[in-house]
């Protein structure tokens, strides 16, 4: 008890100004929480229709309940919803399984490949009596997760190669990498997405252009790799010179030196910024709404257009914000776990 009083004295009531500020802030918290709680729980409408919602002063949870399926899965056929649910479940299990460093070996890599294959087959169907669902009917959370996860899986190694290229002693390779990295980092993602949706088809032979989803994915990978490269470069520069020299003295070739000595240390150092980049990318996938892909954000916006449910956008935005928040938080937690594992 005494300790608590002392804590309060030190942290809340140190001097007149601090005491006043603390009291003001705590009252403000209480007031805000009270109002929010009223809005969300006491006065809200959980079951009912739009008219019931309009009469209530609280949140219209009925709207969220009605639209949950569409927000999460978009145009995926209603009878087949169990498939993306299982796919997301598999993804969570494999991610959770790989959290420990001791499990990081070749087997895990194969397991990831199997899971990826199973998820793909499950989502797309067309085999084993599953109805075929084309990629343009995928939407909502599976699409957002796919854009982010596939984006990360590809951009990480590309980023490493670009970073190595930038540190290279061969001037031509160095400048090519520098040019790529700086060019991409200088422009907004939205312009890359426009490029993928409007310009890329002209770059390829007629009729050979991949579909919209694939092109957006390529744009995201191209974009994030440049940022990844800068993150990795930070790690490479933090490695003391002695490590490079020692590896050279051992007579290791360039690739041996990088693979066995430098990269393992460098990548370990840059776990925190890597995680930040991953979170940034997860958030950035929401921009595909601008080129009309039905990701989590677009399905949310589309549900608001329903003329029966006009005027409840605050509820919908808060709901989808919560989803993004939970996922970003999960990524950063995982990052902290990795940091601990590798220490």
């Amino acid at each position: 008890m005494k300790a608590k009083i002392r804590w309060a004295k030190d942290n809340l009531f140190k001097g007149y100004f601090n005491s006043a500020l603390s009291i003001f802030l705590i009252t403000f918290f209480a007031w805000a929480f009270y109002n929010f709680f009223n809005w969300l729980v006491i006065d809200s409408v959980l079951l009912g229709d739009a008219d019931a919602c309009r009469q209530a002063s609280g949140a219209c949870l009925a709207f969220i309940v009605d639209k949950t399926r569409f927000i999460f899965f978009g145009f995926y056929p209603e009878t087949e919803i169990w498939r993306p649910i299982i796919a997301i479940f598999i993804f969570f299990i494999i991610t959770f399984y790989s959290r420990l460093k001791s499990r990081w070996n070749r087997r895990l890599l194969y397991n990831w490949m199997y899971c990826g294959l199973v998820i793909w087959l499950l989502m797309r169907g067309g085999y084993f009596g599953l109805v075929k669902v084309e990629t343009h009917n995928w939407g909502g959370l599976p699409l957002t997760l796919m854009l982010a996860v596939v984006g990360m899986i590809f951009s990480y190694p590309i980023g490493i190669f670009l970073a190595l290229g930038r540190q290279s002693k061969l001037p031509l390779i160095k400048y090519l990498c520098v040019a790529y990295i700086e060019l991409i980092r200088g422009v907004p993602l939205i312009s890359m997405l426009f490029m993928s949706s409007v310009m890329m088809p002209l770059f390829l032979p007629e009729g050979y252009s991949p579909d919209k989803l694939m092109r957006a994915q390529v744009a995201i990978i191209m974009f994030i790799s440049a940022y990844m490269a800068e993150v990795v470069r930070g790690g490479l520069q933090a490695i003391p010179r002695g490590q490079y020299e020692a590896a050279d003295a051992m007579g290791l070739t360039y690739w041996q030196k990088m693979r066995l000595v430098i990269l393992p240390q460098a990548l370990k150092i840059v776990i925190p910024p890597t995680v930040n980049t991953a979170i940034g990318m997860f958030k950035d996938t929401s921009l595909v709404i601008i080129i009309a892909l039905f990701d989590l954000m677009y399905t949310t916006k589309a549900s608001m257009q329903d003329s029966n449910w006009l005027g409840f956008s605050v509820e919908a935005y808060l709901f989808v914000a919560l989803i993004y928040f939970v996922f970003c938080n999960m990524i950063s937690r995982m990052g902290r776990l990795f940091e601990k594992e590798f220490r």
């Binding site: 002693k169 200088g186 422009v187 312009s191 426009f194 032979p205 958030k283 929401s286 605050v314 993004y324």
Partner: protein
């Protein structure tokens, strides 16, 4: 020794190969594009710059109407982007530093509030936040005929914020001149103060004098000039307000979203910057008897700034690049207008290259400025 085993030869071959690969890829894209364009009879080049744009733009810093050229429309876009990024960057830095300092406050509720703010804002996509503010603005505020009128001359509605504007008077010009004069004066006062302190150790309160002059000189000119003060009040006329200054909901939502989002990142940078200054520095400064605000401004901040500036630069750039999300909420920034032009003319390649070029030059200019600032702030090692 065989040719292949020579390190130099190998280096040359690797480079040649990568060059050829890049060139081949470029050639592949180029030939396809050329074939596609020719086959489909798509016009190329920047001739469309001088054609009449034909569309209106809702807000513009320069004169513009639908009979102006595409080039002018694009200029309007560049200026609008600059407007929102410059104002946004300044506000984001101020708010970010404030929140970063709050985050380190010894007051528990304040520190927690700042932390909660940072965590929440950073984990939600900016685009979602923009949509949210825009929806809030247009759904919660009343229509233009029932506009809120919190004080005379100020109206709030879902058409934006209407403020009274000052009627121009020549006296204002002289007041402006006096402000510039005072700033120059302040610079010389500062040099003088340094000289006095170096020679005698006495402190000359130059900041106080400068501020006093800054306050009173324009006021004096205003009084002498006959106290001109005529407001142009916004008035409801037909569908919209006329007169005064109006700030569109699109601009406000975009600015609000960008500033809140970026400030959360800047707050984290400021926090880690301040924490990077060793505790001994603060204690030593206090032991010298410096007042606490002097400890912060003379000892801690100059050292923290060196850690803060490089990541801050990239945040400022991020804000500028993120302003391109304006296209989602109808603010006529550069990307938005380039997009419209692209739709009207079909010149996708030219316009996307232009977008890339414009943002690259923004990035370059910001980097140059921040590098200059960084150099000025850098530790002068002996």
């Amino acid at each position: 020794m065989r040719f292949w085993n020579d390190r130099k030869n190998r280096a040359i071959i690797y480079q040649l190969l990568s060059l050829i690969a890049v060139m081949a890829l470029g050639l592949f894209f180029y030939s396809n594009t050329k074939a596609n364009l020719e086959k489909q009879n798509i016009a190329t080049g920047f001739h469309f710059f001088n054609r009449v744009a034909g569309f209106e733009i809702s807000e513009s810093l320069i004169e513009y109407n639908s009979e102006d050229s595409y080039l002018r429309a694009l200029k309007v876009g560049v200026l609008n982007t600059l407007k929102v990024s410059i104002i946004g960057n300044i506000l984001a830095v101020i708010l970010g530093v404030f929140i970063g300092v709050c985050r380190l406050s010894k007051n528990w509720p304040l520190a927690k509030l700042a932390q909660g703010y940072i965590e929440t804002i950073r984990n939600i996509p900016l685009l979602l936040q923009l949509f949210f503010w825009y929806a809030l603005f247009t759904e919660i505020l009343p229509g233009v005929r029932q506009a809120l009128n919190p004080m005379p001359g100020v109206y709030l509605s879902n058409r934006g914020v209407m403020l009274p504007s000052l009627e121009y008077n020549p006296v204002f010009f002289y007041m402006g001149v006096s402000v510039i004069f005072t700033i120059i004066l302040g610079y010389f006062l500062k040099r003088y103060a340094k000289k006095v302190q170096d020679q005698s150790g006495k402190q000359f309160p130059h900041v106080l004098y400068t501020v006093l002059v800054l306050l009173f000189l324009p006021l004096l000119i205003w009084l002498v000039g006959g106290m001109p003060l005529e407001f142009n009040l916004p008035k409801l006329q037909g569908f919209n307000f006329s007169g005064g200054v109006s700030i569109s909901p699109e601009f406000i939502s975009l600015l609000l979203g960008l500033v809140l989002y970026t400030s959360a990142f800047i707050a984290e940078i400021v926090r880690s910057g301040i924490q990077s200054v060793k505790k001994g520095q603060e204690e030593a400064a206090k032991a010298l008897g410096l007042k606490s605000y002097l400890v912060l401004t003379l000892v801690i901040l100059p050292q923290a700034l060196r850690v803060i500036i490089p990541p801050l630069t990239s945040q400022l750039l991020n804000l500028t690049k993120n302003s391109s999300l304006a296209v989602a909420i109808a603010y006529p920034d550069f990307v938005n207008i380039a997009n419209t032009t692209m739709n009207q003319t079909g010149q996708a390649i030219e316009l996307i290259s232009l977008i890339i070029l414009v943002y690259l030059s923004f990035s370059l200019l910001t980097s140059l400025f921040m590098n200059w600032f960084n150099k000025k702030m850098a530790l002068v090692e002996r």
